[in-house]
């Protein structure tokens, strides 16, 4: 293999694959990345045996071939090289790095020992979506997911496609976020609807490696997931299990309906939470007569504080406690002047959403008194 690349191009591609370079004591080659030049195209791949990323490198290929190199030393060298132009050449199991003024030889390993990345061959069925929409869908719900060994089925992001819409859903069983993208925001040629759960880490990686402007094609064969753009491929296993039937927790009997300024509520949470104790508890006192929400928190060793926010309130007054971080996570994904909060008393789930819009809902459980 013999290639010439620009430093920045190589660096970008290395960044893209960097996070899933494996730490596997059984198989040291997972600490390496595979550099491959095939019919003039140059790719870098990494894998942790759960997820794999293949990223194209813009550059000139003189001679096809492939080699694996330890990621950390290679990355270090490339990051610190001063010159723009870099020549890479594989000699046996070594890689030679050359610039006008610098030369290095890194011991690699035989590319034959690098895991074969399983791809989905059946490419007739896929849906295609703008990078920014896909990222919006994942980012909107990601913060509600949590990696849990006990509950593998919620350690990821559910993607539910039913022909007309795509729903992204994540939960850690204390709160749940659901984002719906409507038909106009993607094209779908899957014959049938399906539900898949992508593990959280690859979902996060997907957000990192996909560019807003790119079109992403999503394939799935029921046990694997593949996202492909012109210069990136991400393959990952799917979580095998059933996502909980979450539709039954979506609040149906709202007893207190509130519309309040989003920025003011965010600010209030940040300020008031200074006094919240370890469990991040803040109390919302809903006072319909005064058209006010009082956000209150106290700690026996620190003191107490409260913040009054004007709000439009219909329904009954109630005091309800929340983990303020959970509430604030929900507010972050709403990009409007005001937000709508629906309460069902102080022990049942509450919902946060955009006013007059159901494309994003965030459900959160209160803290018990």
């Amino acid at each position: 293999m013999k290639i010439t690349v620009l430093k920045n191009n190589l660096k970008n591609s290395l960044d893209a694959v960097s996070r899933i370079v494996g730490e596997n004591n059984n198989l040291p080659i997972l600490k390496n990345v595979l550099i491959k030049s095939e019919s003039g195209k140059i790719n870098i791949s990494s894998t942790d045996l759960e997820t794999a990323i293949i990223k194209k490198v813009a550059g000139k290929s003189v001679e096809d071939g492939q080699i694996t190199v330890p990621f950390s030393i290679f990355n270090n060298v490339i990051n610190n090289i001063q010159s723009e132009r870099i020549d890479l050449e594989a000699k046996k199991n070594n890689i030679l790095i050359k610039t006008d003024s610098y030369e290095a030889k890194i011991q690699g390993m035989d590319s034959e020992d690098f895991p074969i990345i399983p791809k989905i061959e059946e490419k007739n069925e896929f849906f295609e979506i703008k990078g920014e929409n896909l990222k919006d869908g994942i980012v909107s719900v990601m913060s509600a997911a949590q990696i849990s060994e006990l509950r593998p089925e919620i350690s990821g992001v559910l993607i539910d496609i039913d022909g007309e819409n795509i729903k992204f859903v994540a939960t850690d069983s204390f709160r749940l976020a659901e984002k719906t993208l409507y038909g106009s925001e993607f094209t779908n040629n899957f014959e049938r609807g399906f539900k898949i759960i992508i593990p959280l880490r690859p979902a996060q990686e997907l957000v990192r490696v996909i560019d807003d402007k790119e079109n992403v094609r999503i394939y799935s064969d029921g046990s694997q997931f593949m996202a492909e753009t012109d210069d990136t491929i991400l393959v990952t296993r799917l979580i095998d299990g059933n996502f909980p039937d979450y539709t039954q927790i979506i609040p149906k009997n709202i007893s207190t309906d509130i519309e309040v300024s989003r920025s003011e509520l965010m600010g209030a949470l940040k300020l008031v939470s200074s006094f919240s104790s370890k469990n991040n508890e803040v109390i919302f006192k809903i006072i319909p007569d005064k058209k006010m929400i009082e956000v209150y928190s106290a700690d026996s060793s620190l003191g107490e504080n409260k913040y009054l926010i004007p709000a439009k309130i219909s329904g009954e007054g109630v005091n309800v406690s929340f983990n303020w971080r959970f509430v604030s996570d929900g507010l972050k994904n709403i990009d409007s002047e005001t937000v709508n909060i629906g309460l069902q008393g102080d022990v049942k789930p509450s919902v946060i959403k955009w006013p007059q819009d159901n494309s994003y809902i965030y459900i959160v459980m209160p803290i018990k008194d």
Binding site: E50, E191, R192, G193, F243, D245
Partner: protein, 448 residues
């Protein structure tokens, strides 16, 4: 040699031929799942392993397997994520104030809520038979009573019992049997989803792969043709293969009005047991267990009072216990008179919105006659019983005066109303099936 032995021997051989890291990474969690007509199927935990083993060790494995069993012609590889053992969930006793979505506590694979078990199921004369049938089913899955059909009014423990059967089977047989619990509403939703997304095959697979299928409140699928049909086929498929089916309903199969005949007759082919109203002692025992679950206690006096007042619905019983426990905690001088007051409030609350016309309408609807007939003067047998029931209910639920009741139902003498009330009370004490009917009528009233 079983296929497991065959595979273990082959693995031993393979271990010698490939490096240890490679063996551990790629083959540790492999299994030979099938070996029929020379076609061996090897399951691997993920796609990476599949690609790798297929490409790098395919020939080696075939060679080794053939020396052990020369009939093997080829090997296919499949991916089975379940090979790597899932960890048993740890018990989380730590009391957290942060509330969680309760619905998520149910096991997503089986749909069972682990809180239901047989230990907390109080057995009395009213549910002895059902309990015995349940334990027999747990011991002899699929062969003894199949299907097992349990019916009884709301709040008497049907769901508890059938979920407990599922949980006990799971525990006893250590997950060897695939249990699937589903409410008929969920089943209907699944069918609708499947039809809309053209994935009926998926539904067939999920339900027909179960070893034990438990369906709650089957009466709700009546009249939903496609769901009934899907259920019918699922039922047949499972029953033919001696898979256990457990069904609950609020009434016996014969009395589910819009259920297809072929389904009714199938339900009757197994064991039908009912759960009726618990007697006083059973109720008191239930209250004690509920208190134990909450780690609370109440004086015997109060327990007896509750058991006496709340006769027909365990769920209502739970609500009252919660309320009384709450008040007794916050009021140091709490005694039986307080308890009595609270109970009267709750019981009144539940009947506060009921009007005489609601009762009349519900009775007419239940017996499928018109309200004009019911309040008319006709004395046909088909109308007399409903009319007496209506009279009884007006007295029992609303405590109306006999002359008023008689006036409302066809301008009769007040003695007619007294006679009706006595007759129905008598019947209720003697005839359990009549009791059943009455509960259903009451449910209708509460629903309207």
């Amino acid at each position: 040699m079983t296929i497991d032995e065959l595979w273990i021997r082959s693995l031993g051989e393979l271990e010698l031929q490939i490096s240890r890291p490679n063996f551990l990474t790629w083959l540790k969690n492999s299994r030979l799942v099938d070996n029929k007509e020379g076609d061996a199927i090897v399951a691997l935990p993920n796609h990476f392993a599949k690609e790798w083993v297929e490409a790098k060790y395919g020939k080696m494995i075939l060679g080794i397997l053939r020396t052990e069993d020369s009939s093997i012609k080829k090997i296919s590889y499949i991916v089975d994520g379940n090979i790597t053992k899932k960890k048993e969930p740890l018990k989380q006793d730590k009391e957290e104030k942060q509330l969680v979505f309760n619905e998520f506590k149910t096991d997503p694979e089986s749909g069972l809520n682990p809180k239901y078990n047989l230990k907390t199921f109080v057995v009395g004369s009213s549910n002895e038979l059902a309990y015995a049938a349940a334990t027999a089913t747990i011991d002899e899955i699929g062969s003894k009573y199949n299907p097992l059909f349990i019916y009884g009014g709301t709040g008497l423990g049907k769901t508890h019992l059938i979920q407990a059967i599922g949980n006990e089977i799971h525990k006893k047989h250590k997950g060897k049997h695939k249990v699937k619990y589903v409410s008929s509403e969920k089943f209907t939703n699944d069918v609708i989803w499947a039809i809309r997304n053209k994935r009926v095959e998926d539904i067939k697979n999920t339900y027909r792969n179960a070893d034990i299928l438990i369906i709650d409140d089957i009466q709700f699928i009546g009249g939903k043709e496609k769901t009934e049909e899907e259920f019918f086929h699922t039922f047949n498929a499972l029953h033919e293969n001696n898979k256990q089916i457990i069904i609950s309903s609020d009434r016996p199969p014969r009395s589910i009005p819009i259920l297809e005949e072929r389904l009714k007759s199938r339900f009757e082919g197994g064991m039908i047991v009912d759960i009726s109203f618990p007697d006083f002692e059973t109720r008191a025992a239930i209250i004690k267990i509920k208190l134990q679950e909450r780690k609370e206690s109440l004086e015997d006096e109060i327990i007896n009072l509750i058991a006496n007042k709340v006769q027909r619905n365990i769920r209502e019983l739970e609500g009252i216990i919660n309320k009384i426990v709450f008040h007794s905690k916050h009021n140091s001088s709490f005694d039986i008179s307080h308890a009595e007051k609270i109970m009267n409030e709750v019981i009144e609350q539940s009947s506060v919105n009921i009007t005489p016309s609601q009762i009349i309408k519900a009775v007419a609807e239940f017996y499928e006659i018109s309200t004009t007939e019911l309040i008319g003067r006709g004395r046909k047998k088909e109308i007399v019983e409903p009319r007496q029931v209506a009279m009884y209910l007006l007295r029992d639920m609303l405590n109306m005066s006999y002359p008023f009741i008689a006036e409302k139902l066809g301008k009769r003498d007040h003695t007619t109303a007294i006679y009706a009330f006595d007759k129905i009370s008598n019947n209720l004490n003697k005839d359990p099936s009549f009791n059943q009917k009455m509960t259903m009528v009451k449910e209708l009233i509460n629903k309207s």
